[in-house]
Symmetry: C2
Subunit: 348 residues, 2 copies
């Protein structure tokens, strides 16, 4: 047994990164006591082998672990120590999550008290969640982009849920009961759109309320879900949709068939030839119904595949105007959805 050097409270405090006031407190409650205390002067003397315990205490104190929990961790059953610490971490994570939700709700409520409601739309929760998930793939994947977002846009009797990355756009229109009293739009960043879609799961009907300040809240029975909205610019999707000329050629095809043809072409850019009432993908014939003027159009394979994947139903309708105009992709099985895919001129 070698005698260890004795440290005064100040030296020990510096060594382990705790204030002396905390060390005195830990001595008083018996969590961390000095190796010896001079009975005459009351001086506390610590030894270096106490530093390990003190450093654990310092770490836990830093994140607000209670003294009773520290006792369990330091002196209790290892199994229980593991359990209580995991519980602390889980509590904190849950608290952070709940704080976020409550704060969004508070902001929505406070905003409402100040600004006008410009739209109040009753929609099915399931359909709303499905729409958010359906258009999501068209959003920009770069989180820094203003287009890493989904827009909710209320027009005459419909609510449009839309996403775009400039190369293609997905838009789902849902009928709603009430007309907005003015132009109403709210833009949600992707992460927030995902959170909203998750919270809509299992609900029945909700009321979306958009205020004049462009903020969104969702009423569920008597409750209110706040949604964080983005102020960054988002294209006027109605103008984009209306800007596409009337189609000169229409093509109705089994989704499986065209997806297979695109995959088998194994090229990053494919040429679709529409002639003699037939579709040819890179020269290979695909069973399809073609009506209108003959023509060819070059598209990025990956874009077209993503747009097709977003469609619901077994058959898809492609509407083509000029070689430089966006192609409308939709499905007769789901009238509310349309994707717009820009053609390309590159030949890879």
């Amino acid at each position: 047994m070698t005698t260890q050097p004795l440290l005064t409270i100040g030296g020990f405090a510096r060594a382990v990164g705790l204030p002396t006031s905390a060390l005195r407190h830990y001595d008083e409650v018996g969590l961390l006591s000095p190796a010896e205390t001079d009975p005459a002067t009351g001086y506390r003397y610590y030894t270096p082998d106490l530093e390990h315990r003190a450093r654990l205490v310092a770490l836990m104190r830093d994140v607000g672990v209670s003294i009773e929990t520290m006792r369990i961790v330091l002196d209790g059953d290892p199994e229980e120590a593991l359990a209580v610490l995991r519980e602390v971490a889980a509590d904190r994570a849950e608290h952070a999550q709940r704080t976020r939700e409550v704060i969004d709700t508070v902001l929505a409520l406070a905003d409402r008290a100040r600004s006008l409601e410009v739209a109040r739309l009753r929609v099915g929760a399931r359909e709303m969640g499905a729409a958010l998930r359906q258009v999501r793939p068209a959003a920009d994947r770069d989180p820094a982009s203003a287009l890493a977002a989904v827009a909710l846009d209320a027009g005459a009797g419909t609510l449009d849920v839309v996403a775009t990355n400039r190369y293609w756009m997905a838009c789902r229109s849902m009928p709603v009961g009430t007309d907005p009293s003015g132009p109403a739009r709210a833009v949600l960043r992707l992460a927030e759109a995902d959170r909203l879609a998750d919270r809509l799961d299992g609900l029945d009907e909700v009321v979306l309320v958009v205020t004049s300040e462009g903020r969104l809240s969702v009423e569920v029975d008597d409750d209110l879900i706040g949604v964080e909205t983005s102020d960054r610019p988002f294209p006027a999707h109605r103008l984009v949709l209306e800007g596409v000329p009337d189609p000169t050629t229409r093509l109705l095809v089994e989704r499986d068939a065209i997806e297979r043809a695109l995959t088998e072409a194994a090229r990053s850019v494919v040429t679709l030839a529409l002639a003699d009432e037939r579709l040819h993908v890179e020269g290979r014939a695909v069973d399809a119904l073609v009506r209108g003027k003959p023509g060819t159009i070059a598209m990025r394979t990956a874009l077209l595949l993503r747009a097709l994947a977003a469609c619901v139903g077994g058959r898809v309708l492609l509407e083509v105007a000029g070689a430089a105009d966006a192609v409308r992709v939709s499905s007769p099985d789901q009238p509310g959805f349309v994707a717009l895919v820009m053609p390309t001129h590159d030949e890879q």
Copy 2:
């Protein structure tokens, strides 16, 4: 101006979900005062239009927002209100994250004090991070699976980083300075492996310490990073690797070429034919160097593509034994990495 019904403190408390003790406190500090107070009896009377404010207070109180912050939110500048609330949410999220990290470190330190160190391995942080990311795609994607994990396994002079989903396995071996004093292995769930990889970014050299209880900690200079380990079973990858018979045929091919051939085959199961010193994928010839016994082997295209994608370098080496034996996939450009891919008998 219609007179509103007056509510006593108890009725108001029930209406807004706050205890009367809290309401008295909010009156005292001037955050939420009753509409009138009877000067004779001191009775507090609230009106329904105070409920909106009170409900906001109740929400914020619930997540521990301070009274001073509530004042800003309720009576301050809207911009400032938005800023302080966002700050509260960000603080909570950061605190939750830090709590997690600290608790992992405390558990690692506490564990160390109790159990034996069985391995102490000095490795490059960058190489370790790269290894975790390289084997990751082979892990099971189902978060509930025991194989949604990465194993670190220290053997004679090497550390193996390995992941598998039973259909294929990826293993990267790194040379390490020290030998373990016993069998040393730690299994990390995927999320934890990702977190570790992120924390290794930008570091230089680290020391991995595995204890007899199978826990892992990472020393960085004087600091310690705790890593949460999993107790769920993980296959003995050395036995799996050693169980593959010596190859009868070897195939060296450009990675691009075989990937292209597999994509163009456009089938979910492909047959590789190795004969006459040539490779045929579904009948199409691919430039390659083939040595050994002729044979054919059927594989799931997606699995083989994923294994090829995990390889580093332009050329890949495939080593084939029997038609039912796993195929070893590696690259002469990175000797430390090997993938094992199970063949299939299904013909889709």
